[in-house]
């Protein structure tokens, strides 16, 4: 009986590890990483996951062993202990150190993506001259490009609904805004997620490494239509981006004949 019970417990880590190892084959794992900092994020994810996996396996095996070794039938008398000061010190210190290690390891990556100091300063798009403003509202995404004068918020701004088109292999800085409630701009392929707060203008940057069209989803429950708040980020070549801007401009100043 004790053997069955401990084997059942042992099945948990074995099945868990098996699931993780075969997840990629079933398409249960992350989508491919297509931004410059995505590999760093994935490395951090793996780092933390292996750390947690190691702890998980050790504790599960210990649990199974304890169930086997200390079954009530064989050990009918319990031993009373008032606790061990030393043991408590150890199991407090080890997680504390582990958390500090995680905190310090991720700091550089986090700063690179989110801090003002990490924002690109070279190239076409910077914090001073963002590529566009992306507006989140219940329940869609709209992009506002600065148009010919290069200044956002003027009458020649070009607007596009649903799609946000950016050039590939270029640092992209855009401003995220919300018209109503808190939304979150999330493109899984870029490993980038940023909340949009009403009243705030939040700069966001990324550098997409592969042309394609990626799902843009809202990652903050924003109301009854949250599930349908979708868009696309389309990454194109620099030439295609310029052609897109010209096309958008032509459509914007169309005389309605289309």
């Amino acid at each position: 009986m004790r053997l069955i019970a401990s084997l059942l417990l042992l099945a948990v880590p074995i099945l868990g590890v098996y699931t993780f190892m075969t997840a990629a084959d079933h398409d249960w794992w992350f989508p491919p990483a297509y931004s410059t900092f995505a590999p760093d994020i994935d490395w951090l994810f793996d780092f933390i996951m292996y750390m947690v996996a190691f702890t998980f396996i050790v504790t599960e095996v210990a649990l199974a062993w304890f169930v086997f070794k200390y079954s009530a039938k064989r050990n009918d008398k319990g031993v009373f202990t008032h606790g061990s000061h030393k043991l408590e010190m150890i199991w407090t210190a080890i997680p504390a150190v582990a958390l500090l290690v995680i905190a310090f390891t991720q700091m550089e990556t986090f700063a690179k993506i989110k801090f003002a100091s990490g924002f690109p300063t070279q190239g076409r798009f910077t914090r001073e001259k963002p590529i566009a403003q992306v507006w989140a509202s219940q329940f869609d995404w709209r992009t506002r490009y600065p148009g010919d004068d290069g200044v956002l918020g003027t009458v020649d701004d070009l607007e596009a609904s649903y799609e946000f088109v950016v050039p590939v292999n270029e640092d992209i800085v855009f401003e995220l805004r919300s018209r109503d409630v808190i939304h979150s701009w999330f493109v899984p392929e870029f490993r980038l997620k940023q909340d949009a707060l009403p009243g705030h203008t939040i700069p966001v940057w990324f550098n997409a490494t592969k042309e394609g069209s990626y799902d843009l989803v809202c990652a903050e429950l924003c109301g009854w239509g949250h599930y349908k708040m979708s868009g696309r980020v389309r990454v194109v070549s620099a030439q295609e981006f310029d052609a897109y801007q010209a096309d958008l401009k032509a459509k914007w100043f169309s005389n309605g004949k289309e």
């Binding site: 403003q133 869609d140 009458v155 649903y162 799609e163 401003e175 009854w224 239509g225 169309s254």
Partner: protein
């Protein structure tokens, strides 16, 4: 003894597993939906009696089913005249193929096909690989699914048979939804706001402000049509494609062009159904008999109205002029001129939507309340032009349409006939300039924030 808890646990796990299996395997059955009569048809008079006798209400409901079908099988009645003319109102694209009388140009049909190829690229690749069984078509394409199943049933022994493969591909590339397909997509995406009959009374409608559109009057706000005409196909398509900024109507561009055109077809059907219903009620209230002739006459009158919509389209031929200091200044003068623009009386001198005539005093409490209601009975305020949110679109041509034609169903009137196109463009430029808010560059010193 100790084996019992284990057995319980195992049994519970097995039950749980079986439960999950069942849930995953079976999709919930489609609820049965019916078209109901609109509240104006079933209204009661002051004595609490129905305005229309119940027998007449049944008559109207029956006539509408004859003309427009049911939600599970919506279709237009093909009148004898149409049969003679070989015109099928249910097939906007096929009509174009057969005798050129359809609603799509060659270019538009080509664009729909190209979009289908993109939308079905996964399925087309599976067909190419001969893996027909792996093709799963969306649940909102019941007719296409049954066609697909029928095609698979005729599969030859050789899975790579070129003819069979070509036909399978053509099914998807040439896809244009039937009204039944579109009604299914409508049920999944639109119904929860716009309601079964398009009355703007779906289950989520009470939570929304502004309210979802009620199509049944045939009145659509954001069109390019003059004289409060019913919209063109392009106007409705644009709303689906772009969404309506500042409202809960999102862009539905994630669906293919064919699917969106199909939704336009279905919205048109719902709108025509509502218009015929209204027409029949009025016929009865005018003490005319609801004969078969009257019903068919109303049906073709409504069809004519929609069919002739294109004639009411506001055509602007030149290039859209660019704003200049002068045109903006001229627009401001017109905006403030009571004889021409007279915009300020509602939109306010600064365009904040706070003009004097937009408000009135409540007769009893003396509170300031909106002076106007729209055609759907909602209190309505003039747009605050300083926010840069233009529901019908922020493009210059959109604002041009709004000023030139007014907004259907609202107190916003069409421009007076003395206004020239140049005047209207000047107003467009002025209105556009009101929401200008050139972006302030983020300061590199956080200190400057403290100065304020």
């Amino acid at each position: 003894m100790r084996i019992r808890p284990c057995l319980y646990a195992l049994a519970a796990a097995a039950l749980l597993g079986a439960g999950c299996q069942l849930d995953l395997a079976s999709e919930p059955a489609d609820p049965v939906v019916h078209y109901s009569l609109s509240p104006t048809t079933t209204a009661l008079d002051e004595a609490g009696e129905p305005l229309l006798p119940l027998a007449e209400q049944d008559h109207i409901a029956g006539s509408l089913t004859m003309l427009f079908g049911t939600p599970a099988n919506p279709r237009f009645l093909r009148t004898a005249e149409w049969v003679d003319d070989e015109f099928d109102p249910n097939w906007p694209t096929y009509a174009a193929d057969d005798n050129g009388g359809g609603e799509f140009s060659e270019d538009e049909l080509a664009a729909i096909k190209a979009d289908n190829e993109r939308d079905f690229r996964r399925e087309l690749a599976l067909i190419e690989a001969g893996r027909y069984e792996d093709v799963v078509l969306p649940s909102w394409m019941p007719d296409l699914r049954s066609k697909w199943a029928a095609h698979l049933a005729s599969k030859p022994a050789d899975a790579r048979d070129a003819e069979f493969q070509g036909e399978a591909k053509a099914l998807l590339v040439d896809f244009y939804p039937t009204l039944r397909d579109s009604a299914e997509l409508y049920r999944q995406q639109c119904l929860h706001c716009h309601g079964v009959e398009g009355g703007g009374d779906g289950p989520t409608a009470p939570f929304l402000n502004p309210k979802p559109r009620d199509y049944r009057a045939g009145v659509f706000k954001f069109t390019s049509m003059k004289d409060k005409s019913t919209p063109r196909r392009e106007d409705l398509y644009r709303i689906l494609d772009e969404g309506v900024t500042g409202t809960a109507m999102p862009s539905f561009r994630r669906f293919s062009q064919a699917e969106l055109h199909g939704l336009v077809d279905y919205v048109r059907l719902l709108s025509m159904r509502g218009m015929v219903e209204r027409d029949l009620v009025n016929t009865y209230l005018n003490e005319e008999a609801l004969s078969m002739e009257a019903v068919l006459e109303s049906f073709s009158a409504v069809w004519d109205k929609w069919g002739k919509a294109a004639e009411k389209h506001t055509q602007f031929d030149g290039a859209v002029p660019a704003p200049s200091k002068e045109s903006i200044e001229r627009g401001r003068t017109l905006f403030m001129d009571a004889a021409t623009g007279n915009c300020f009386s509602c939109h306010g001198a600064e365009g904040r939507g706070d003009g004097a005539s937009a408000f009135t005093k409540h007769p009893e409490t003396g509170e300031t309340i909106p002076a106007y209601k729209d055609d759907w009975g909602n209190e309505i305020l003039p747009r605050n032009l300083r926010q840069g949110i233009f529901r019908g679109g922020r493009r210059p041509i959109d604002i041009y349409y709004r000023i030139k034609n007014g907004i259907n169903g609202t107190p916003m009137p069409a421009a007076v006939s003395t206004m020239s196109d140049d005047d209207i463009w000047a107003l467009v430029h002025y209105v556009g300039s009101l929401s200008e808010a050139p972006r302030v560059r983020p300061s590199s010193h956080s200190k400057s924030n403290a100065d304020h």
